[in-house]
C-alpha cells in the first residue's frame, strides 16, 4: 500500500505540514488521523450533515467530499485554529458557550466553521440569513434556536469590536 502514497503539502491553521497519503484519503481523515486534529468531526460522509466543514483557502467546504490530494498547497483552517491557544475561546466560540449553542457538541466544529464563513462574507447577517447558512448543518440537540442566537450575538460583538 505504501507505494500508492504520495507527498502532500498543506498549511493547516497557519502551519506548513507535509504528509504522505493515498489518493483515496479524504481530507477529513488526513486532518483527524494523519495530523491528529480530531476537532473536525465526520458524520454522514456524503455532504449532508455538515459536521466535517472546514475552511479551504478561506471558504467553508466539506472535508469529507474532498480528497486530500485535491487540496495540495491549500490553506486549511479547522476548529482548532479558531482560538488563540489552549483554553482560549474566539468571540464566536465564546458566544456559543454563553448562549448554549451546543449540547453534545458533535455538530459544533462544522457549525463554527460555517458561521465563520458566513460572518466573513456578511458581518451583520439577518436572522433569516443565519438560518439559511445553517441549512447545511444538522444538529440533533439544540433545535437550532440557541445556535442562531449565538451567531447573532457573535456578529454583534465582532461588529462592535470593529
Amino acid at each position: 500500500m505504501s507505494s500508492d502514497r504520495r507527498p502532500l503539502s498543506l498549511t493547516v491553521n497557519g502551519t506548513s505540514l507535509k504528509v504522505e497519503v493515498e489518493p483515496r484519503r479524504l481530507l477529513c481523515d488526513v486532518l483527524r488521523h494523519d495530523l491528529g486534529l480530531t476537532g473536525t468531526h465526520v458524520g454522514c460522509e456524503h455532504g449532508v450533515c455538515g459536521a466535517c466543514t472546514v475552511l479551504v483557502d478561506g471558504r467553508a467546504e466539506r472535508s469529507c467530499m474532498t480528497f486530500a490530494v485535491q487540496a495540495e498547497g491549500c490553506g486549511i483552517e479547522t476548529v482548532e485554529g479558531l482560538a488563540g491557544g489552549p483554553g482560549a475561546l474566539s468571540p464566536l466560540q465564546a458566544a456559543f458557550q454563553e448562549h448554549h449553542g451546543l449540547q453534545c457538541g458533535f455538530c459544533t466544529p462544522g457549525i463554527l466553521m460555517t458561521a465563520r464563513d458566513l460572518l466573513a462574507r456578511n458581518p451583520s447577517p439577518s436572522e433569516p440569513e443565519i438560518r439559511q447558512a445553517l441549512t447545511g448543518s444538522i444538529c440533533r440537540c439544540t433545535g437550532y434556536q440557541s445556535i442562531v442566537a449565538a451567531i447573532a450575538a457573535a456578529a454583534s460583538e465582532l461588529g462592535e469590536a470593529g
Partner: protein, 294 residues
C-alpha cells in the same frame, strides 16, 4: 464508508487531460472538478473509477467572461462564484439566483458549473438553467472543439452527449435582447435538498405582452424538460394575467409523464408541476422572482 483505490492525475493542461482520458481508458477514468457529486458517490462505492483526472490546475477553465451578446462561464467556475458575481446579478440575474439554490454554501464553494452539467442529474439546477436559457456547451476532445446545444446535451439520467474522451470547457448563455423577466421556484423536502420538482420561467416582453416564453422543469424524468405547450399558450398574453398562467400550467401537464421516485409519485409531481408553473409565472410578473435561496 471510504472510497476504493484509484490512480490520481492532475494534468497541467487541457490537452494533457484529454490525452490521459484516452490513455487510461482501460481504468474507466473519470474527470473530477469540485467532486461534490463524484466524491460522495465514491464514498458510498456507487462509483468506482480506476483513475481520476483532476482538473484543478486548468485555470483557463475558470471565470466569467462577457462577450458581445452573451456570457461565457468556465467549466471550473464554482457555484458560489456565480452566485456572488455582481456582473451576472446585474445582467443575467436568473443565473446567480438559481445557482444559489444548489445544495448548501459549502457545497457551492467547491462544486463547479461544469461538474454539475456533466453529472447531468435531472433534478439539478444547472441542467435546468442550461435548458431554460438555451445555453451552448463547448466540449474539447482529441479531434478538437465542438459546441452542443443544451437541448442535445442531456440524453438521459446522468448521461450527456459528451463522449468518454471529451471535457466540457465552458457554457455560453445569451440574455434575451430586449425586455425580459424571469421567475423560479423549487420544491424540496428540506432547504438545500435535491429538488422534487423545480420550474424556471423566462418571458420576453414586447409592448407589455409576452413575445416569447420559455419554461423548463427539473425532476420530472430522465432529463430537464422544456414545457413547449405551455410556452405556446403564453405568447401574446399579459405577463400578469393569472388566467393565462392557469392555461399555461394546464398545458404544461400535456405530454408530461413524470417518473416516480423517492421524491414522490407521478401524480404528486404533476400537481407540483401545475402549481409551480403558475408560481414561476407569477414571480416573473412580480418584483420577487424567487424565494430566498437556501
Amino acid at each position: 464508508m471510504k472510497p476504493p483505490k484509484f490512480d490520481y492525475h492532475a494534468p497541467g493542461s487541457l490537452q494533457e487531460a484529454i490525452e490521459l482520458l484516452g490513455g487510461l481508458s482501460d481504468l474507466d477514468p473519470k474527470v473530477i472538478a469540485g467532486g461534490q457529486s463524484l466524491v460522495p458517490l465514491m464514498n458510498l462505492r456507487l462509483a468506482r473509477p480506476g483513475a481520476l483526472i483532476d482538473l484543478r490546475h486548468l485555470d483557463e477553465l475558470r471565470g466569467i467572461q462577457r462577450e458581445a451578446s452573451s456570457w461565457t462561464i468556465g467549466a471550473l467556475t464554482r457555484h458560489s462564484e456565480v452566485e456572488d458575481s455582481l456582473d451576472l446579478r446585474e445582467h443575467l440575474p436568473v443565473v446567480p439566483a438559481v445557482a444559489a439554490h444548489i445544495g448548501y454554501r459549502p457545497i457551492r464553494n467547491r462544486g463547479t458549473v461544469g461538474g454539475s452539467l456533466c453529472h447531468a442529474d435531472p433534478a439539478a439546477e444547472w441542467p435546468l438553467l442550461a435548458r431554460l436559457l438555451d445555453a451552448d456547451l463547448e466540449l474539447v476532445g482529441p479531434s478538437g472543439v465542438r459546441t452542443v446545444r443544451a437541448e442535445d446535451f442531456f440524453e438521459s439520467f446522468f448521461v450527456t452527449a459528451a463522449t468518454e474522451d471529451e471535457i466540457l470547457r465552458s457554457v455560453r448563455i445569451a440574455p434575451p435582447p430586449g425586455a425580459w423577466r424571469w421567475g423560479f421556484t423549487e420544491f424540496a423536502h428540506t432547504a438545500g435538498d435535491f429538488a422534487i420538482v423545480a420550474v424556471g420561467a423566462v418571458v420576453d416582453l414586447d409592448d407589455g405582452r409576452i413575445s416569447r416564453a420559455r419554461l423548463a422543469a427539473a425532476g420530472l424524468g430522465a432529463t430537464p424538460a422544456r414545457l413547449s405547450a405551455a410556452e405556446a399558450e403564453l405568447v401574446g398574453t399579459d405577463p400578469k394575467d393569472p388566467t393565462a398562467h392557469r392555461r399555461a400550467a394546464q398545458a404544461a401537464l400535456l405530454g408530461v409523464e413524470p417518473s416516480e421516485d423517492g421524491g414522490g409519485s407521478a401524480d404528486y409531481k404533476r400537481t407540483l408541476l401545475e402549481v409551480q408553473v403558475r408560481r414561476a409565472l407569477a414571480r416573473a410578473a412580480s418584483g420577487e422572482p424567487t424565494e430566498v435561496a437556501t
